[in-house]
Subunit: 223 residues, 2 copies
Protein backbone atom coordinates (compact mmCIF):
# COMPACT_ATOMS: atom_id res chain seq x y z
CA UNK A 1 0.00 0.00 0.00
CA UNK A 2 2.74 2.47 0.84
CA UNK A 3 3.80 2.40 -2.83
CA UNK A 4 0.43 3.44 -4.22
CA UNK A 5 0.72 6.89 -5.79
CA UNK A 6 -3.06 7.06 -6.13
CA UNK A 7 -4.09 6.46 -2.56
CA UNK A 8 -3.71 10.12 -1.45
CA UNK A 9 -5.89 11.27 -4.32
CA UNK A 10 -8.46 8.55 -3.85
CA UNK A 11 -8.75 9.09 -0.13
CA UNK A 12 -9.62 12.71 -0.91
CA UNK A 13 -12.11 12.21 -3.74
CA UNK A 14 -13.66 8.78 -3.16
CA UNK A 15 -15.95 9.08 -0.11
CA UNK A 16 -16.02 5.27 0.17
CA UNK A 17 -12.23 4.97 0.58
CA UNK A 18 -12.44 4.56 4.36
CA UNK A 19 -14.94 1.70 3.99
CA UNK A 20 -12.57 -0.40 1.86
CA UNK A 21 -10.31 -3.19 3.08
CA UNK A 22 -6.55 -2.84 2.57
CA UNK A 23 -6.73 -5.45 -0.15
CA UNK A 24 -9.55 -3.69 -2.04
CA UNK A 25 -7.63 -0.42 -1.88
CA UNK A 26 -4.56 -2.16 -3.24
CA UNK A 27 -6.63 -3.67 -6.06
CA UNK A 28 -8.01 -0.26 -7.09
CA UNK A 29 -4.53 1.26 -6.99
CA UNK A 30 -3.00 -1.56 -9.00
CA UNK A 31 -5.64 -1.20 -11.70
CA UNK A 32 -5.22 2.58 -11.96
CA UNK A 33 -3.26 4.60 -14.48
CA UNK A 34 -2.37 8.28 -14.58
CA UNK A 35 -2.98 9.77 -18.03
CA UNK A 36 -2.18 13.14 -19.58
CA UNK A 37 -4.36 14.08 -22.54
CA UNK A 38 -3.58 16.92 -24.93
CA UNK A 39 -6.45 19.31 -25.64
CA UNK A 40 -8.92 17.75 -28.07
CA UNK A 41 -8.10 14.07 -27.37
CA UNK A 42 -11.01 11.65 -27.49
CA UNK A 43 -10.78 9.73 -24.19
CA UNK A 44 -13.85 7.53 -24.43
CA UNK A 45 -15.89 6.70 -27.52
CA UNK A 46 -18.69 4.69 -25.97
CA UNK A 47 -17.61 1.40 -27.50
CA UNK A 48 -15.90 -0.15 -24.51
CA UNK A 49 -15.48 0.14 -20.74
CA UNK A 50 -12.72 2.74 -20.44
CA UNK A 51 -12.96 2.92 -16.66
CA UNK A 52 -13.86 5.38 -13.94
CA UNK A 53 -12.20 8.72 -14.69
CA UNK A 54 -11.16 11.09 -11.92
CA UNK A 55 -10.16 14.50 -13.30
CA UNK A 56 -7.01 15.90 -11.65
CA UNK A 57 -6.67 19.00 -13.82
CA UNK A 58 -8.13 20.38 -17.02
CA UNK A 59 -11.64 19.85 -18.32
CA UNK A 60 -13.48 16.93 -19.92
CA UNK A 61 -16.56 17.30 -22.10
CA UNK A 62 -19.18 14.53 -22.11
CA UNK A 63 -21.42 14.48 -25.18
CA UNK A 64 -23.75 12.55 -27.43
CA UNK A 65 -23.17 12.28 -31.16
CA UNK A 66 -25.95 12.46 -33.75
CA UNK A 67 -26.07 10.73 -37.13
CA UNK A 68 -24.44 13.57 -39.03
CA UNK A 69 -21.73 13.90 -36.44
CA UNK A 70 -23.67 16.65 -34.66
CA UNK A 71 -22.70 16.84 -31.02
CA UNK A 72 -24.80 17.57 -27.97
CA UNK A 73 -22.79 18.54 -24.93
CA UNK A 74 -24.29 16.90 -21.84
CA UNK A 75 -21.97 18.33 -19.20
CA UNK A 76 -18.36 19.16 -18.37
CA UNK A 77 -16.13 17.70 -15.66
CA UNK A 78 -13.47 19.71 -13.84
CA UNK A 79 -10.70 18.90 -11.34
CA UNK A 80 -11.97 16.61 -8.56
CA UNK A 81 -15.00 15.41 -10.54
CA UNK A 82 -15.65 11.85 -11.56
CA UNK A 83 -16.94 10.28 -14.76
CA UNK A 84 -18.74 6.99 -14.26
CA UNK A 85 -20.58 6.79 -17.60
CA UNK A 86 -17.23 5.89 -19.18
CA UNK A 87 -17.29 2.66 -17.14
CA UNK A 88 -20.32 0.96 -18.64
CA UNK A 89 -19.33 -2.37 -17.07
CA UNK A 90 -19.88 -0.91 -13.58
CA UNK A 91 -23.55 -0.01 -14.03
CA UNK A 92 -25.70 -2.62 -15.76
CA UNK A 93 -28.69 -0.34 -15.89
CA UNK A 94 -26.84 2.14 -18.13
CA UNK A 95 -27.61 1.10 -21.69
CA UNK A 96 -26.49 4.18 -23.61
CA UNK A 97 -23.12 5.42 -24.81
CA UNK A 98 -21.53 8.78 -24.32
CA UNK A 99 -18.33 10.27 -25.69
CA UNK A 100 -15.68 12.01 -23.62
CA UNK A 101 -13.09 14.47 -24.94
CA UNK A 102 -10.39 16.46 -23.18
CA UNK A 103 -11.54 20.01 -23.84
CA UNK A 104 -8.32 21.34 -22.36
CA UNK A 105 -5.05 19.57 -21.61
CA UNK A 106 -6.15 17.28 -18.80
CA UNK A 107 -4.58 14.94 -16.29
CA UNK A 108 -6.75 12.05 -15.11
CA UNK A 109 -6.56 9.00 -12.88
CA UNK A 110 -8.38 6.11 -14.56
CA UNK A 111 -9.53 3.16 -12.48
CA UNK A 112 -10.02 -0.02 -14.52
CA UNK A 113 -13.73 -0.74 -14.96
CA UNK A 114 -13.53 -4.44 -14.01
CA UNK A 115 -11.73 -3.82 -10.73
CA UNK A 116 -14.16 -1.06 -9.84
CA UNK A 117 -17.16 -3.22 -10.79
CA UNK A 118 -15.93 -6.16 -8.67
CA UNK A 119 -15.54 -4.00 -5.59
CA UNK A 120 -18.79 -2.14 -6.24
CA UNK A 121 -20.58 -5.51 -6.30
CA UNK A 122 -19.43 -6.37 -2.78
CA UNK A 123 -19.11 -3.01 -0.99
CA UNK A 124 -22.42 -1.14 -0.68
CA UNK A 125 -20.67 2.24 -0.15
CA UNK A 126 -18.93 1.94 -3.53
CA UNK A 127 -22.12 0.97 -5.30
CA UNK A 128 -24.02 3.85 -3.71
CA UNK A 129 -21.25 6.27 -4.74
CA UNK A 130 -21.32 5.07 -8.36
CA UNK A 131 -25.11 5.28 -8.51
CA UNK A 132 -25.33 8.68 -6.81
CA UNK A 133 -22.71 10.14 -9.15
CA UNK A 134 -24.74 8.87 -12.10
CA UNK A 135 -28.04 10.18 -10.76
CA UNK A 136 -26.43 13.62 -10.36
CA UNK A 137 -25.55 13.54 -14.06
CA UNK A 138 -29.13 12.55 -14.87
CA UNK A 139 -30.14 15.98 -13.55
CA UNK A 140 -27.56 17.68 -15.81
CA UNK A 141 -28.85 15.81 -18.83
CA UNK A 142 -32.47 16.70 -18.06
CA UNK A 143 -31.46 20.34 -17.93
CA UNK A 144 -29.80 20.10 -21.35
CA UNK A 145 -32.85 18.30 -22.71
CA UNK A 146 -35.09 21.10 -21.50
CA UNK A 147 -32.81 23.63 -23.18
CA UNK A 148 -32.88 21.78 -26.47
CA UNK A 149 -36.48 20.68 -26.65
CA UNK A 150 -38.38 23.49 -25.09
CA UNK A 151 -36.47 26.71 -25.48
CA UNK A 152 -36.55 28.75 -28.59
CA UNK A 153 -33.24 29.39 -30.27
CA UNK A 154 -33.09 33.15 -29.55
CA UNK A 155 -33.47 32.47 -25.83
CA UNK A 156 -30.81 29.75 -25.90
CA UNK A 157 -28.30 31.87 -27.78
CA UNK A 158 -28.93 34.81 -25.44
CA UNK A 159 -28.28 32.57 -22.42
CA UNK A 160 -25.13 31.21 -24.03
CA UNK A 161 -23.71 34.67 -24.78
CA UNK A 162 -24.49 35.97 -21.29
CA UNK A 163 -22.95 32.85 -19.70
CA UNK A 164 -19.80 33.16 -21.80
CA UNK A 165 -19.50 36.84 -21.07
CA UNK A 166 -19.89 36.21 -17.34
CA UNK A 167 -17.39 33.34 -17.44
CA UNK A 168 -14.68 35.28 -19.27
CA UNK A 169 -15.43 38.66 -17.70
CA UNK A 170 -15.48 40.25 -21.16
CA UNK A 171 -18.25 41.73 -23.29
CA UNK A 172 -16.73 40.15 -26.37
CA UNK A 173 -17.30 36.43 -26.97
CA UNK A 174 -14.28 35.16 -28.88
CA UNK A 175 -15.74 32.02 -30.39
CA UNK A 176 -16.53 31.17 -34.01
CA UNK A 177 -20.12 30.50 -35.05
CA UNK A 178 -19.04 26.91 -35.62
CA UNK A 179 -17.81 26.60 -32.02
CA UNK A 180 -20.95 28.20 -30.60
CA UNK A 181 -23.11 25.84 -32.68
CA UNK A 182 -21.12 22.87 -31.38
CA UNK A 183 -21.47 23.95 -27.77
CA UNK A 184 -25.19 24.55 -28.21
CA UNK A 185 -25.88 21.38 -30.15
CA UNK A 186 -27.10 23.43 -33.07
CA UNK A 187 -25.99 24.08 -36.65
CA UNK A 188 -23.58 26.84 -37.67
CA UNK A 189 -26.11 28.29 -40.12
CA UNK A 190 -28.69 28.61 -37.37
CA UNK A 191 -26.24 30.44 -35.09
CA UNK A 192 -25.11 32.75 -37.91
CA UNK A 193 -28.70 33.60 -38.82
CA UNK A 194 -29.65 34.26 -35.22
CA UNK A 195 -26.55 36.43 -34.64
CA UNK A 196 -27.42 38.41 -37.77
CA UNK A 197 -30.87 38.96 -36.29
CA UNK A 198 -29.35 40.05 -32.95
CA UNK A 199 -27.04 42.45 -34.85
CA UNK A 200 -29.96 43.94 -36.76
CA UNK A 201 -31.62 44.60 -33.41
CA UNK A 202 -28.49 46.37 -32.17
CA UNK A 203 -27.92 43.73 -29.51
CA UNK A 204 -24.51 42.54 -30.74
CA UNK A 205 -21.85 43.45 -33.29
CA UNK A 206 -20.26 40.60 -35.21
CA UNK A 207 -16.70 41.02 -36.47
CA UNK A 208 -13.53 39.01 -36.97
CA UNK A 209 -12.62 39.71 -33.36
CA UNK A 210 -15.73 37.97 -32.10
CA UNK A 211 -19.21 38.82 -30.96
CA UNK A 212 -19.37 42.10 -29.03
CA UNK A 213 -22.38 42.43 -26.78
CA UNK A 214 -23.65 46.01 -27.23
CA UNK A 215 -26.95 45.92 -25.38
CA UNK A 216 -26.87 43.57 -22.40
CA UNK A 217 -30.26 44.60 -20.97
CA UNK A 218 -31.94 43.79 -24.28
CA UNK A 219 -30.12 40.44 -24.41
CA UNK A 220 -31.26 39.71 -20.87
CA UNK A 221 -34.84 40.50 -21.82
CA UNK A 222 -34.76 37.56 -24.26
CA UNK A 223 -33.96 35.11 -21.46
CA UNK B 1 -47.73 -6.60 10.84
CA UNK B 2 -50.39 -9.20 10.09
CA UNK B 3 -52.82 -6.36 9.42
CA UNK B 4 -50.77 -4.72 6.69
CA UNK B 5 -52.58 -5.07 3.37
CA UNK B 6 -49.47 -3.86 1.53
CA UNK B 7 -46.94 -6.34 2.84
CA UNK B 8 -47.76 -9.08 0.30
CA UNK B 9 -47.36 -6.64 -2.57
CA UNK B 10 -44.20 -5.08 -1.19
CA UNK B 11 -42.53 -8.40 -0.48
CA UNK B 12 -43.05 -9.24 -4.16
CA UNK B 13 -41.95 -5.95 -5.75
CA UNK B 14 -39.45 -4.41 -3.31
CA UNK B 15 -36.26 -6.53 -3.49
CA UNK B 16 -35.09 -4.93 -0.23
CA UNK B 17 -38.14 -6.13 1.75
CA UNK B 18 -36.26 -9.07 3.28
CA UNK B 19 -33.50 -6.75 4.52
CA UNK B 20 -35.90 -4.59 6.57
CA UNK B 21 -36.62 -4.89 10.27
CA UNK B 22 -40.19 -5.60 11.37
CA UNK B 23 -40.49 -2.05 12.57
CA UNK B 24 -39.28 -0.54 9.25
CA UNK B 25 -41.76 -2.71 7.38
CA UNK B 26 -44.54 -1.55 9.65
CA UNK B 27 -43.51 2.09 9.08
CA UNK B 28 -43.64 1.70 5.30
CA UNK B 29 -47.03 -0.03 5.50
CA UNK B 30 -48.46 2.62 7.83
CA UNK B 31 -47.39 5.42 5.48
CA UNK B 32 -48.85 3.74 2.39
CA UNK B 33 -52.14 4.40 0.63
CA UNK B 34 -53.92 2.49 -2.13
CA UNK B 35 -55.21 4.83 -4.83
CA UNK B 36 -57.42 4.34 -7.87
CA UNK B 37 -56.99 6.95 -10.61
CA UNK B 38 -59.40 7.41 -13.50
CA UNK B 39 -57.79 7.64 -16.94
CA UNK B 40 -56.22 11.05 -17.49
CA UNK B 41 -55.71 12.00 -13.83
CA UNK B 42 -52.59 13.98 -13.01
CA UNK B 43 -50.94 12.07 -10.16
CA UNK B 44 -47.77 14.10 -9.69
CA UNK B 45 -47.07 17.63 -10.89
CA UNK B 46 -43.45 18.04 -9.86
CA UNK B 47 -44.15 20.58 -7.16
CA UNK B 48 -44.01 18.34 -4.11
CA UNK B 49 -42.89 14.93 -2.88
CA UNK B 50 -45.87 12.74 -3.81
CA UNK B 51 -44.14 9.53 -2.75
CA UNK B 52 -42.86 6.30 -4.25
CA UNK B 53 -45.50 4.93 -6.63
CA UNK B 54 -45.87 1.19 -7.22
CA UNK B 55 -48.20 0.47 -10.15
CA UNK B 56 -50.64 -2.39 -9.43
CA UNK B 57 -52.62 -2.13 -12.66
CA UNK B 58 -53.05 0.29 -15.54
CA UNK B 59 -50.37 2.55 -17.00
CA UNK B 60 -48.68 5.77 -15.87
CA UNK B 61 -47.00 8.22 -18.21
CA UNK B 62 -43.99 10.21 -16.97
CA UNK B 63 -43.27 13.41 -18.93
CA UNK B 64 -41.62 16.82 -19.00
CA UNK B 65 -43.61 19.99 -19.47
CA UNK B 66 -42.36 23.26 -20.95
CA UNK B 67 -43.49 26.73 -19.91
CA UNK B 68 -45.65 26.82 -23.01
CA UNK B 69 -47.32 23.51 -22.15
CA UNK B 70 -45.40 21.36 -24.64
CA UNK B 71 -44.96 17.77 -23.39
CA UNK B 72 -42.23 15.19 -23.96
CA UNK B 73 -43.05 11.66 -22.82
CA UNK B 74 -40.03 10.16 -21.04
CA UNK B 75 -41.35 6.65 -20.33
CA UNK B 76 -44.37 4.65 -19.22
CA UNK B 77 -44.81 2.48 -16.13
CA UNK B 78 -46.90 -0.70 -16.07
CA UNK B 79 -48.04 -3.14 -13.38
CA UNK B 80 -45.19 -4.05 -11.03
CA UNK B 81 -43.08 -1.02 -11.97
CA UNK B 82 -42.01 1.71 -9.60
CA UNK B 83 -41.80 5.49 -9.93
CA UNK B 84 -39.16 7.09 -7.75
CA UNK B 85 -38.90 10.47 -9.52
CA UNK B 86 -42.24 11.36 -7.90
CA UNK B 87 -40.50 11.19 -4.51
CA UNK B 88 -38.02 14.04 -4.86
CA UNK B 89 -37.37 14.03 -1.11
CA UNK B 90 -35.80 10.56 -1.39
CA UNK B 91 -33.04 11.50 -3.85
CA UNK B 92 -31.20 14.74 -3.17
CA UNK B 93 -29.27 14.56 -6.41
CA UNK B 94 -32.45 14.80 -8.49
CA UNK B 95 -32.95 18.48 -9.21
CA UNK B 96 -35.55 18.35 -11.98
CA UNK B 97 -39.30 17.92 -11.98
CA UNK B 98 -41.36 15.43 -13.91
CA UNK B 99 -45.10 15.04 -14.28
CA UNK B 100 -47.00 11.78 -13.93
CA UNK B 101 -50.45 11.05 -15.38
CA UNK B 102 -52.60 7.93 -15.32
CA UNK B 103 -52.76 7.08 -19.01
CA UNK B 104 -55.34 4.39 -18.29
CA UNK B 105 -57.41 3.76 -15.19
CA UNK B 106 -54.71 2.74 -12.74
CA UNK B 107 -54.43 1.34 -9.25
CA UNK B 108 -51.29 2.28 -7.32
CA UNK B 109 -49.75 1.82 -3.89
CA UNK B 110 -48.11 5.06 -2.81
CA UNK B 111 -45.46 5.01 -0.08
CA UNK B 112 -45.05 8.35 1.68
CA UNK B 113 -41.82 10.04 0.59
CA UNK B 114 -40.63 10.94 4.10
CA UNK B 115 -40.98 7.41 5.46
CA UNK B 116 -39.23 5.99 2.43
CA UNK B 117 -36.45 8.60 2.67
CA UNK B 118 -35.87 7.88 6.38
CA UNK B 119 -35.48 4.16 5.79
CA UNK B 120 -33.41 4.67 2.65
CA UNK B 121 -31.00 6.79 4.71
CA UNK B 122 -30.29 3.93 7.11
CA UNK B 123 -30.70 0.76 5.04
CA UNK B 124 -28.19 0.47 2.17
CA UNK B 125 -30.38 -2.01 0.24
CA UNK B 126 -33.23 0.51 0.09
CA UNK B 127 -30.94 3.31 -1.06
CA UNK B 128 -29.38 1.09 -3.73
CA UNK B 129 -32.84 0.09 -4.94
CA UNK B 130 -33.98 3.73 -5.20
CA UNK B 131 -30.80 4.75 -7.02
CA UNK B 132 -30.79 1.76 -9.40
CA UNK B 133 -34.42 2.36 -10.31
CA UNK B 134 -33.55 5.97 -11.11
CA UNK B 135 -30.46 5.09 -13.14
CA UNK B 136 -32.58 2.68 -15.20
CA UNK B 137 -34.86 5.59 -16.03
CA UNK B 138 -31.84 7.66 -17.01
CA UNK B 139 -31.27 5.12 -19.81
CA UNK B 140 -34.90 5.48 -20.92
CA UNK B 141 -34.56 9.24 -21.07
CA UNK B 142 -31.32 9.02 -23.06
CA UNK B 143 -33.10 6.71 -25.47
CA UNK B 144 -35.85 9.30 -25.99
CA UNK B 145 -33.22 11.95 -26.54
CA UNK B 146 -31.44 9.74 -29.07
CA UNK B 147 -34.69 9.06 -30.89
CA UNK B 148 -35.25 12.77 -31.20
CA UNK B 149 -31.70 13.60 -32.23
CA UNK B 150 -30.70 10.55 -34.25
CA UNK B 151 -34.14 9.92 -35.70
CA UNK B 152 -33.42 8.38 -39.08
CA UNK B 153 -30.04 6.75 -38.51
CA UNK B 154 -31.36 3.19 -38.10
CA UNK B 155 -33.39 3.60 -41.27
CA UNK B 156 -30.45 5.00 -43.21
CA UNK B 157 -28.06 2.28 -42.11
CA UNK B 158 -30.63 -0.43 -42.94
CA UNK B 159 -31.03 0.99 -46.46
CA UNK B 160 -27.27 1.12 -46.88
CA UNK B 161 -26.73 -2.50 -45.79
CA UNK B 162 -29.55 -3.80 -48.02
CA UNK B 163 -28.22 -1.82 -51.00
CA UNK B 164 -24.68 -3.12 -50.48
CA UNK B 165 -25.91 -6.68 -50.08
CA UNK B 166 -27.97 -6.43 -53.30
CA UNK B 167 -25.05 -4.85 -55.16
CA UNK B 168 -22.50 -7.50 -54.16
CA UNK B 169 -24.93 -10.44 -54.13
CA UNK B 170 -23.65 -11.39 -50.67
CA UNK B 171 -25.23 -11.31 -47.23
CA UNK B 172 -21.95 -10.10 -45.75
CA UNK B 173 -21.01 -6.46 -46.16
CA UNK B 174 -17.20 -6.30 -46.25
CA UNK B 175 -16.66 -2.68 -45.32
CA UNK B 176 -15.18 -1.12 -42.20
CA UNK B 177 -17.33 1.06 -39.96
CA UNK B 178 -15.14 3.95 -41.06
CA UNK B 179 -15.92 3.32 -44.73
CA UNK B 180 -19.65 2.98 -44.06
CA UNK B 181 -19.61 6.22 -42.08
CA UNK B 182 -17.86 7.95 -44.97
CA UNK B 183 -20.37 6.64 -47.54
CA UNK B 184 -23.27 7.69 -45.32
CA UNK B 185 -21.85 11.06 -44.34
CA UNK B 186 -21.89 10.06 -40.69
CA UNK B 187 -19.31 9.42 -37.95
CA UNK B 188 -17.64 6.06 -37.34
CA UNK B 189 -18.76 6.06 -33.71
CA UNK B 190 -22.38 6.44 -34.78
CA UNK B 191 -22.17 3.57 -37.26
CA UNK B 192 -20.50 1.38 -34.64
CA UNK B 193 -23.19 2.17 -32.10
CA UNK B 194 -26.05 1.51 -34.49
CA UNK B 195 -24.47 -1.79 -35.63
CA UNK B 196 -24.18 -2.75 -31.96
CA UNK B 197 -27.89 -2.07 -31.62
CA UNK B 198 -28.67 -4.12 -34.77
CA UNK B 199 -26.56 -6.97 -33.38
CA UNK B 200 -28.37 -6.89 -30.04
CA UNK B 201 -31.63 -7.21 -31.99
CA UNK B 202 -30.26 -10.25 -33.84
CA UNK B 203 -30.36 -8.45 -37.19
CA UNK B 204 -26.63 -8.59 -37.97
CA UNK B 205 -23.46 -10.17 -36.67
CA UNK B 206 -20.35 -8.02 -36.61
CA UNK B 207 -16.96 -9.71 -36.93
CA UNK B 208 -13.56 -9.13 -38.49
CA UNK B 209 -14.90 -10.58 -41.74
CA UNK B 210 -17.53 -7.88 -42.01
CA UNK B 211 -21.17 -7.36 -41.22
CA UNK B 212 -23.25 -10.49 -41.75
CA UNK B 213 -26.95 -9.84 -42.27
CA UNK B 214 -28.78 -12.49 -40.24
CA UNK B 215 -32.38 -11.30 -40.46
CA UNK B 216 -33.15 -9.54 -43.74
CA UNK B 217 -36.93 -9.26 -43.18
CA UNK B 218 -36.30 -7.46 -39.89
CA UNK B 219 -33.79 -5.16 -41.59
CA UNK B 220 -36.32 -4.39 -44.34
CA UNK B 221 -38.94 -3.57 -41.74
CA UNK B 222 -36.73 -0.71 -40.51
CA UNK B 223 -36.79 0.93 -43.93
Amino acid sequence: MENCVFSDVYSEFFPFWGALSESDRATLCRSSVLMKYPRGTNIHDGSECTGVILVRSGCLRVYMLSDEGKEITLYRLYAGEICILSASCVLNSITFDVFVDAEEESECCIVGGCAFADISAKVAEVKIFALETTVGRFSDVMWVMQQILFMSMDKRLAIFLLDESAKTGSDTVKLTHEQIAKYMGSAREVVTRMLKYFASEGIVEVSRKGIAILDKPKLRKLV
